[in-house]
Symmetry: C2
Subunit: 428 residues, 2 copies
C-alpha cells in the first residue's frame, strides 16, 4: 500500500534528509575483496584477470576481447525490429547530445592580451556495462554515444562474461550500434581495475563510466583519482508533482514504472489534492495486479513509495528542490511556466505525454542521472563528461610590462620570490 502523508513546510528538509540517507550500508567486506582484486591486477596484470574470471565468473577464458565473429553472431540472435529501434534510439541520443558539444573560445578584450579555453576530448574512455538481469541495451547507448559525440578516440566497453564464455547478445548489438571500439569480457571489480590500470593486453583508460553492482561501485570509488569516474548511482527515483487536474491512472502507472526497478527504487507523488492522493493510492493497488514484477513492486511501493500532500503548489516545488529527485514529472496546468521553480532535478518531464520511460529509452536526453539527492550538485551524464578544458594565456611584452610590478608585489606577499624573479627577469 502506498502511504499518504500530509506535510508542512517545516518538515521538508528533514524528510529529504531521511530519504537521502536510505543508503546506510557499510561495505567493509566488499571493500576488502575489492582492494585485493585491484592490487592483484596492478601487480600481476593479465594473469590475475584470467584468474578472477575463472574464480568469480566460473569460466576459463583464453581471450579477453570479444571477436568480430561473436558480434556478427549476436546480430543474428537479436530480432530485426529491435535492431531498428536501437538504431533510432541511438540517432535520437546523438542528436540531443550534439547540442552539448563545447567549443574552444578566446577573447581579446585588451590589446596584446589573448585569453582562451581550448576544449579537447578525453582520449581513452572505459564503459562498464552490467551483465545478468541488468544487461540493458539502453544503458549501453546512453554511456557510449555521448563519448562518441565528444570525439573520444578510444572507447573500451567491459562487461561480465557468462559461464558459457559468451556475452549477452543484446549487449553486443547495442555496443556495436553505439560505436565503441572494443569489448572486454571482464565484469565486476576486476573489470574496473583492468580499465583503470591496464594490463599487458589492455590499455588503461583515463575515465570510467557506467553503472554496476556494489563491487563495481566500490571499485570505482577506489580507483577515483587515478582515473576519473562518473557519479556512483544509487537506486532509481521518480517524483511526480500533480495538481487537481492530473489523471490518477497515469500517475499510478508512472509510479509503478519506477518502482519495478528494484526494492529500493523510490516513487513519490507530491500533490496539492487530497482527492488525487486517495485515487492514486487506489489505482496503484489496482494496476499492480496486472504487472509481472509484483514481488518487487509490493516492497518498493510500501517501503520507499509515498504520497505527500502539501497545501500549495509552490510548496510542492520547494519540497522537490530539497529532495533533488533523479526524475521529476510535472503533471500540472501549464507545466512550462513552472520550469524556473525547479532548482534541483536530474531530468524534468513536462505534461501528460512525457512519461519517464520515454526518457529511459528514446527521447534523446541521457538516462544516467544523479540519484539520492545528488542533483543538488551534479548533472546528467553528457558530452561535457568526455571533454576537458585547458586555459590559454598569451601576453605580449607591453602587456606584461604593465602588470609587472603588481605581479611581483603579489608574489612577494605570498613569499614566493622565484615567482617574482620570473617576471622581473623579462625586463632586466
Amino acid at each position: 500500500m502506498l502511504n499518504i502523508e500530509t506535510i508542512n513546510q517545516k518538515q521538508f528538509s528533514k524528510i529529504s534528509q531521511q530519504r537521502t540517507s536510505r543508503d546506510s550500508e557499510t561495505y567493509e567486506e566488499v571493500d576488502k575483496d575489492v582492494q585485493k582484486i585491484i592490487a592483484s591486477i596492478r601487480n600481476k596484470g593479465d594473469a590475475a584477470v584470467f584468474d578472477y574470471i575463472e574464480r568469480l565468473d566460473g569460466v576459463k577464458l583464453d581471450e579477453l576481447f570479444v571477436t568480430d565473429e561473436e558480434i556478427d553472431q549476436a546480430f543474428k540472435q537479436v530480432d530485426d525490429e529491435m535492431i531498428t529501434i536501437l538504431k533510432e534510439a541511438r540517432s535520437n541520443i546523438e542528436t540531443y547530445h550534439k547540442n552539448q558539444l563545447e567549443k574552444s573560445w578566446y577573447v581579446n578584450d585588451q590589446e596584446g592580451i589573448w585569453l582562451g579555453q581550448q576544449v579537447t576530448p578525453i582520449e581513452r574512455v572505459g564503459v562498464y556495462v552490467p551483465g545478468g538481469k541488468a544487461a540493458y541495451p539502453s544503458t549501453v547507448l546512453m554511456n557510449v554515444v555521448p563519448a562518441k559525440v565528444a570525439g573520444v578516440e578510444s572507447i573500451t566497453v567491459t562487461t561480465p562474461v557468462q559461464p558459457d564464455g559468451k556475452v549477452n547478445p543484446n549487449t553486443l548489438v547495442a555496443v556495436s550500434i553505439a560505436g565503441a571500439d572494443r569489448i572486454l569480457k571482464i565484469g565486476g571489480a576486476h573489470g574496473i581495475a583492468t580499465l583503470a590500470y591496464g594490463t599487458e593486453s589492455v590499455d588503461k583508460v583515463y575515465k570510467i563510466v557506467g553503472p554496476g553492482n556494489a563491487y563495481v561501485a566500490r571499485a570505482k570509488k577506489f580507483v577515483f583519482g587515478d582515473v576519473a569516474i562518473d557519479m556512483i548511482a544509487g537506486p532509481s527515483e521518480v517524483c511526480i508533482i500533480a495538481d487537481h487536474q492530473a489523471e490518477p491512472r497515469l500517475i499510478a502507472a508512472d509510479l509503478l514504472a519506477q518502482a519495478e526497478h528494484d526494492e529500493l527504487a523510490s516513487s513519490i507523488l507530491v500533490t496539492t489534492s487530497k482527492q488525487i492522493a486517495t485515487e492514486v493510492q487506489q489505482e496503484v493497488e489496482n494496476q499492480i495486479k496486472s504487472l509481472s514484477r509484483q514481488d518487487i513492486l509490493a516492497v518498493s511501493i510500501a517501503e520507499q513509495g509515498r504520497i505527500y500532500v502539501v497545501d500549495q503548489l509552490n510548496h510542492a516545488f520547494e519540497f522537490v528542490n530539497e529532495l533533488a529527485p533523479e526524475h521529476l514529472e510535472i503533471l500540472v496546468e501549464n507545466p512550462f511556466e513552472q520550469l524556473p521553480k525547479i532548482k534541483n532535478a536530474g531530468a524534468i518531464f513536462l505534461g501528460s505525454y512525457s512519461p519517464e520511460p520515454l526518457g529511459d529509452y528514446f527521447a534523446g536526453p541521457n538516462h544516467t542521472l544523479p540519484t539520492n539527492g545528488t542533483a543538488k550538485f551534479s548533472s546528467p551524464l553528457g558530452v561535457y563528461d568526455f571533454q576537458k578544458k585547458s586555459s590559454v594565456i598569451y601576453y605580449d611584452q607591453q602587456s606584461l610590462e604593465k602588470a609587472n610590478q603588481k605581479i611581483q608585489k603579489f608574489a612577494q606577499a605570498e613569499r614566493l620570490d622565484a615567482h617574482a624573479a620570473s617576471i622581473r627577469k623579462r625586463f632586466e
Copy 2:
C-alpha cells in the same frame, strides 16, 4: 643540479608513468584519524567541532564564525597597495570566468517535441582555504570568484584558526574582496566534515572545493559522494617546451618559480636543442644562489626536475601529451600554431612574455589546475564546476503516439513491463 636526459619516442609513456606515480604514499594513519573526526562531527555536531579546534588548533573558541569586526580589522592590517592589486586580480578573474557561464537551451527539431537543458547554479558551496605558510590570497580569489560568477547563493569559506583565535588577515581581506558570504574558523579534516554534514550552527553545503594538506585531501575523498568535491591536487608542476631560439635565462627562471613551491614540485624542460639544455642547466645553478627558498629549490630541482632532449619538436608535443602537465609553457617560434598539438595540459602559456606566475595571480584564468597527469581527464576549476544541468523533455500527444510501440517494445526487451504500461495507458 638539474639533470639532462636524451630520450626517444619509445620511452615517453614509461617516463610519464614513472613521473605520475611520484605519490606512492599510503595514508593509513591519516585515514584512521580522518574517519574518526568525520564520524564524531556527524554524531555530535558543534560540540565535536569546538573540541577538535581545542585539541588540534590549540585554541578554545566560543564562536565558529569570523565577525564583521574581525574583517574590518584585517583590512587595517593589510597594506593598501596590496588591497588594490587584489581587487584588480579579482576583476580579471571575474572577466575571464564570465566567458564560461553556460546558458540553458532548448531545441524544437520535430513538431510537438521540445527537448532542453536547464542550467542552474549549485545553491550552497564550501571553500577550504589553507592556513599557515600556504595561506595564499590568490587561492581564495581563484576558488570563490568562479562560484560567485556561477550564481551560487551561499558561499562558506572555512580556514584554520591561529592559536590566538584569529584568522590570517590576508585571507580575510581576500575572502571579503572575493565576495564569500561567511567565514568559518575550522581547518583540517574537521573543517571538511563540518561543511559536508553541517552542525547546529553551520548549514551543510553541496560541494566543497579548495586545496589543503593530507588531512584535508583525505577528508575530501571520504565525504565525496555525500557532497561533490573538486579534484584532489598533487604537487605543482611546470613543463616548458623550448626550441633553439628560446632564452635559457627565462627558462631557468620559470623552472625555479615552479620548484620553489615545495620539495615535490616538478620542473621539466623538453627541448630539441642540446645547447639550450646545457645553458639552462647552468642558468639554474646561477640563479638559485640569489633566491630565498634555496633549501626547497635544491631538493625539488635535483629530485623532481629534469631536462629532456628530444630529436624533433613533434616528439616534444607527443611526450608532453603523455605527461599532461599542470602548467605548460611553449617557448618556440610561432607558439599559436602549436596549440592544436596540445591534447593534455591544465593551462597553456604562449611565448616569452607569458610566464607561469602571470597565470598564478593575475591574468584571469584559474590557477586551480589538474596535476599529476590528471589533465588527461580533467579541467581547470571553473564556473562549470558550480553550475549543473537538468534535462527537460516535452512530447505532445501525437509525438508520443508515434513512438508508443517502439518504446513498449524496448521496455519489453528489458523485461520492464510497468515501463511499457506507463506508455500504453496514455492511449487506452
